[in-house]
Subunit: 353 residues, 2 copies
């Protein structure tokens, strides 16, 4: 007769590769059932977007085979419960992830929206807040121009209801402004607008709230960093030297006293262009490996590179983000970045906890 203890003993030999502890110590093995014909248990990962899911499942099967019984049928339910810094200020949001860039035009909004979509597709409850007060692009990218979020009563308080589309909860500063009218934001106006998007919205329970920040280093960054418990920042850059210089500054800002936001890693966008007629050629128009080197030099994770692809630009323009197009090879690049981002967040949460 197989016992629960035998199973836990076996699985205590399986290490979570990112967190460097075994699954039993991490309390990831739950609901063990020993039935006449099979063994059942849940592996509760720290994120549904975990790219090591398959690897961990395989290791669990091996461990049962080795330490318990070669003949046993093993039914593993791979599930997840996202960990994070749950915050008093923003009830129910486990991780606030900033997507930032030192320079504009590097594809920050493209990365933010596809990162959020990939996290949602993996099964995580995800929101996307477009805080780019100077050029909100979420309404165009999600085909939501002219949308006005509804107002709802929550515990007697008036709250903004995020718009739901493609499995995400969405808010943008662009929902509240006329797209053809410029708002020359004075600092304090911008700050209070952002505070409303964070605090006056009814986000509900979220595993991840991805925030598309304005480019550069300014009032909004200081406000957000000091007002909310941020899990970390994903930094987007192109390989170009002029972009990297600004990216360095952006990272230095997150490391400043009174700000101290962990850097989840660097995404390099517009890495190279490949014409359809010359599928083996990579044209490094903006230089090669600039983002990767920057990550190495600064000892932060490199989350991945995204090639220059017309379909990505078109998708953003057409209100149907590229991640929803399963046939596009570039989608894998975004999914890998989402997986690594979720991994790094799990590691960070584990360090804190």
């Amino acid at each position: 007769m197989i016992t629960k203890e035998q199973i836990l003993h076996a699985l205590s030999h399986v290490e979570e590769p990112d967190l460097k502890k075994d699954l039993v110590t991490l309390n990831m093995i739950q609901n063990i059932e020993i039935l006449p014909d099979k063994i059942k248990f849940d592996v509760v990962l720290t994120t549904p977007a975990c790219p090591l899911k398959g690897h961990i499942e395989h290791a669990c099967r091996n461990a049962i085979g080795l330490f318990v019984s070669k003949e046993a049928t093993v039914d593993i339910n791979m599930t997840s419960r996202v960990v994070g810094v749950e915050s008093a200020q923003l009830d129910g949001i486990k991780n606030i992830v900033l997507v930032s860039s030192g320079k504009g035009g590097v594809g920050k909004s493209t990365v933010a929206s596809n990162l959020a979509l990939a996290l949602a597709e993996s099964g995580a409850k995800t929101g996307l807040l477009d805080a780019d007060i100077y050029g909100p692009s979420l309404p165009l990218m999600f085909g939501l121009e002219g949308t006005r979020p509804e107002s709802i009563q929550i515990n007697g308080k008036q709250k903004i209801a995020p718009v739901e589309k493609f499995g995400l909860k969405l808010l943008s500063i662009g929902f509240f402004t006329d797209p053809n009218q410029p708002i020359p934001w004075r600092g304090p106006m911008a700050t209070s607008a952002i505070k409303q998007l964070f605090g006056d919205a009814h986000w509900g329970d979220l595993d991840y709230l991805v925030v598309d920040m304005p480019p550069g280093t300014g009032d909004i960054h200081i406000t957000v960093a000091q007002s909310y418990p941020i899990s970390g920042a994903v930094i987007v850059t192109t390989p170009q030297q002029v972009a990297l210089a600004d990216t360095m500054k952006g990272m230095a800002m997150f490391r400043m006293d009174g700000i101290h936001i962990p850097i989840i890693g660097i995404v390099e966008n517009m890495s190279y262009f490949t014409p359809a007629e010359l599928p083996d050629n990579k044209y490094y128009i903006f230089g090669k490996d600039g983002g990767k080197r920057l990550a190495e030099d600064n000892n932060v994770p490199f989350l991945g590179e995204i090639p220059l692809v017309k379909a990505v630009a078109d998708a953003g323009d057409n209100g149907f983000p590229i991640l929803l197009d399963a046939d596009e090879p570039v989608v894998n690049a975004f999914k890998e970045i989402a997986g690594r981002t979720a991994q790094e967040l799990s590691i960070l949460a584990n360090q804190v906890g």
Copy 2:
């Protein structure tokens, strides 16, 4: 015997194509000399960067041949005196030209620096002020990292001396900050830094002061627009829809009450990519003709398009702007844009005057 009056009569038949008046009415004919063996006079254009220079000279020769004498040797000195709104606040600067974009990363600094270099190369006294407080790129683009401008006494006042390089007078907010340290500028700090770059610098006499503005619409734009007499703004965009939407907003800002800055025209950057192996192919990665259509729809001049060229990105990264590389075909695109910009400024000055 040929008379001065005959020559003026002949040249009164030559129209300045942009200003739609004849050269005599425009007071462009100066220093007429009738020598025994030849006729000499100056044609004083409104800008040395005038792309119609050759055309006007040819028309003058024709007019003399037709109305004065077929045999006369005509010696024409094509020269220029830039017109503009000379300002009390900024003594000696004839034209302040903003280079702006609704969105960052569209190549605004590349356009600003190469526009300034092309104007200087044509013979105009030109300055370049990098007011992009969030990501000053002039020091890197001009190989001037670590440069600190000197301080000089002018009429008993302490002034900043612009740095001179490649025939330009240069100042950047980046000369006063540590490139590796971020400055999370609060609105009022940014505003006062910009005012110093404009007002506390000793620019001397300039035909054109090209100002590389921060992207978007913010404090700096309001301050600059309301504090100085701006001749006009060159708007840089990529053909991408998300960029165009921000560009619309940028233009709307310049047209707002209390700002009212004429739009000189639109430059489309990153228009297409041509691999060396397929010189006839144009890959419109970010869409086709977006900038041109935007110009048409808004009834503003289209100043030209610049292809995606690795050499342009490299040049910016290497501290030696592309305009200084005579062998690069893309240089002509920048020169044409400079010529059209100077033309439009002449037209604007003529409308005002």
